[in-house]
């Protein structure tokens, strides 16, 4: 086993894919000179001269240009600096990137990866802290992924880069420095987009999450075990397409469901999971579905207020205990 941070693991994925395929290049703000504002591209500009390209502050071009380059046979990876800036090139994402293959009847492929660092950190306030993954799960034609640990970060990014269709890769900013174990090179398991992972097998309640929410999910399961509640934990990893079957199968076994994500609860991806379980497996449920996410307000600056929009593991524990 090897120990890497999340950021190092993404670098490894980039290097391995770029080494293999000269069609891959990277474009975004502050990448070549700075190695990315979170250091997540560190070392790559030196290793791949001319293939990590600094753009001006032109998010609309970054995505539009990425889509055009992909249509013309390249395989661009583009970086959004902060996921919050993704509203700027929204048309390029949902009317160009997402639609090209389908509306041109399969003539076009858009092998584009859009990397978007998200989540609350450094007191970022309203425009530098958001989790916006749910918006994109409402758009057919985009694959949306959000890994939770270094090993998945690497394998999911590799799968994204190797995919012939566009992928939106959400990477949580707090997770960048998190360390985790990866198998030795050569014995890693390739990831298939759309597949969830069973993190912990259990019989009493299913906890579903992704990205940084997995900290709450795993943390709660460990504590609940001491109280005699055996939780099953599922890391969705991929939100669109998502592994509906894995969740339904688990709920049919445990009869209870708890969903958690850092994003705003209203209209969050948890709502899709809850609605699907209600539609397709309500008769298996022994208790109401629990859903945790941020309250419906912009992310505030003041530490006292920011604290109030976070989801805490204790909230999950309290909630889960209340349905037994």
């Amino acid at each position: 086993m090897r120990t890497l941070t999340f950021a190092q693991a993404t670098c490894e994925a980039m290097a391995e894919t770029m080494e293999k395929d000269p069609k891959i290049f990277v474009m975004g703000e502050d990448l070549a000179r700075q190695g990315g504002i979170f250091g997540q591209f560190k070392g790559l500009p030196e290793r791949f001269p001319g293939r990590i390209i600094d753009t001006p502050i032109s998010e609309t071009f970054i995505i539009g240009g990425g889509v055009g380059a992909a249509l013309a046979g390249a395989r661009p990876v583009v970086d959004m600096h902060f996921a919050d800036f993704i509203g700027v090139p929204m048309d390029e994402i949902f009317n160009q990137m997402a639609k090209a293959r389908y509306m041109f009847g399969g003539q076009a492929r858009v092998p584009l990866v859009l990397r978007a660092p998200d989540g609350m950190t450094f007191q970022g306030a309203a425009q530098h802290s958001q989790c916006v993954e749910a918006w994109f799960c409402h758009i057919p034609g985009i694959q949306v992924v959000a890994p939770s640990n270094p090993y998945d970060a690497k394998m999911v990014l590799k799968a994204a880069i190797e995919s012939d269709d566009p992928v939106l890769y959400f990477e949580n900013k707090i997770l960048y420095k998190e360390k985790g174990e990866l198998p030795e090179l050569g014995s890693e398991e390739p990831y298939q987009i759309g597949k969830a992972k069973l993190i912990r097998s259990g019989t009493d309640v299913t906890i579903v999450s992704y990205s940084i929410g997995m900290k709450n999910a795993v943390g709660a399961a460990a504590i609940l075990e001491k109280d005699g509640i055996d939780a099953e934990v599922i890391d969705l990893i991929s939100l669109s397409p998502w592994d509906k079957q894995a969740v339904l199968d688990s709920v049919k076994k445990t009869h209870r469901l708890c969903i958690v994500h850092e994003a705003v609860k209203q209209g969050g991806f948890g709502a899709e999971i809850a609605a699907t379980v209600a539609e397709e497996a309500i008769e298996y449920l022994d208790a109401p579905i629990l859903r945790y996410g941020a309250p419906f307000c912009p992310i505030p600056f003041a530490p006292t207020l920011e604290k109030k929009v976070r989801v805490y593991t204790e909230d999950l524990i309290r909630g889960i205990k209340s349905i037994f």
Partner: protein, 323 residues
């Protein structure tokens, strides 16, 4: 100096576009085809003059008014017509329709239903061409209306800063849907080519109703783009007409339709081309008649092909989406 074959081929392309779009207009008005249909009638010299300077491997990004660009780039008429009818044999297997017509085999990277949607894509295609050293260049067609989109400004800045082989071809037909370009309060700088100068691009303004002017200016821009001499992107403003409404079915409450049509008829690019060729002694009237007849037959065959083709099967709903 052009050969007779070249002149006849340009003329054929212009007539194909004219007849294809008059047929599309008729079919839409008759309810034989549905959806949004924007015809390119009146602007044929631009697509033809521009694409005459390009290779099949070069890229074009088109607009909602995209049939002319697609034909000029070398697409086949039968699958194009079938696409307008939403048939399985269409260029996009019936999934795109008029507004999303595309033919990637000939470098036509798609009509775009989003006004100004093509700028970034065209610059990206040029970036990929340079990155992969294919030697291809890229052209983006757009209207006077689209020049006010932010997408234009980001893409123009990028193309110039990175000296990419992209040519911005502005089809200034004087009206953005219902809003006149010069008096509509849309911009302080009416002369759009001046904007290009602001980004550091070579820029020309030509009479878009004169094939030879479009071709001549485009040839110069393409030479620079291919040669990569200095800053090799360029801007070509082609001033032209829009004889009909914005879209088929538009009753044009915002202007006098008779006057707009009369202005175009007095300055029709196809008649201008004929006049020039006859005056110069390059072609005879019977050459034009022969082309007109041959094209009519091709269009009729395309129409029949479209009508006879099946609609896509229901099983196609989820194809070309996720693997």
């Amino acid at each position: 100096m052009f050969t007779k074959e070249e002149l006849l081929s340009y003329y054929t392309t212009m007539v194909q576009i004219r007849q294809f779009d008059l047929e599309a207009k008729r079919a839409r008005e008759a309810g034989e085809i549905l959806g949004n249909v924007h015809v390119y009638v009146g602007e044929e010299a631009i697509a033809t003059g521009v694409c005459a300077c390009l290779n099949t491997t070069d890229y074009i990004e088109s607009t909602h008014r995209g049939h002319g660009h697609t034909i000029a780039k070398g697409a086949q008429l039968k699958p194009m017509m079938a696409e307008l009818y939403g048939k399985a044999t269409g260029s996009c297997h019936g999934k795109g329709g008029s507004q999303h017509i595309a033919d990637f085999k000939v470098g036509m990277l798609g009509a775009n239903g989003i006004v100004g949607g093509g700028f970034g894509l065209a610059v990206g295609a040029a970036l990929a061409a340079r990155y992969q050293k294919t030697g291809a260049i890229s052209v983006v067609f757009f209207g006077d209306g689209a020049s006010n989109r932010g997408t234009f400004h980001e893409a123009a800045n990028m193309a110039a800063a990175w000296r990419l082989p992209v040519i911005f071809v502005c089809e200034n037909n004087g009206i953005a849907c219902s809003t006149p370009h010069s008096t509509g309060g849309q911009q302080a700088v009416v002369d759009l080519s001046k904007r290009a100068l602001g980004y550091g691009m070579e820029s020309y303004v030509v009479d878009g109703n004169d094939f030879f002017s479009v071709y001549g200016a485009m040839k110069r821009l393409v030479k620079r783009a291919r040669g990569g001499e200095g800053n090799c992107c360029g801007f070509l403003e082609c001033q032209t007409h829009r004889p009909f409404g914005h879209i088929v079915g538009d009753v044009q409450r915002y202007r006098d339709p008779t006057q707009a049509k009369a202005q175009w008829e007095a300055d029709d690019c196809i008649k201008n081309f004929e006049r020039r060729c006859i005056t110069a002694g390059w072609l005879e009237p019977q050459d034009f008649e022969a082309v007109q007849r041959a094209v009519s037959e091709t269009i009729e065959q395309a129409r029949q092909f479209a009508i006879d083709s099946p609609y896509p099967d229901k099983s196609q709903l989820f194809t070309d989406l996720y693997d």
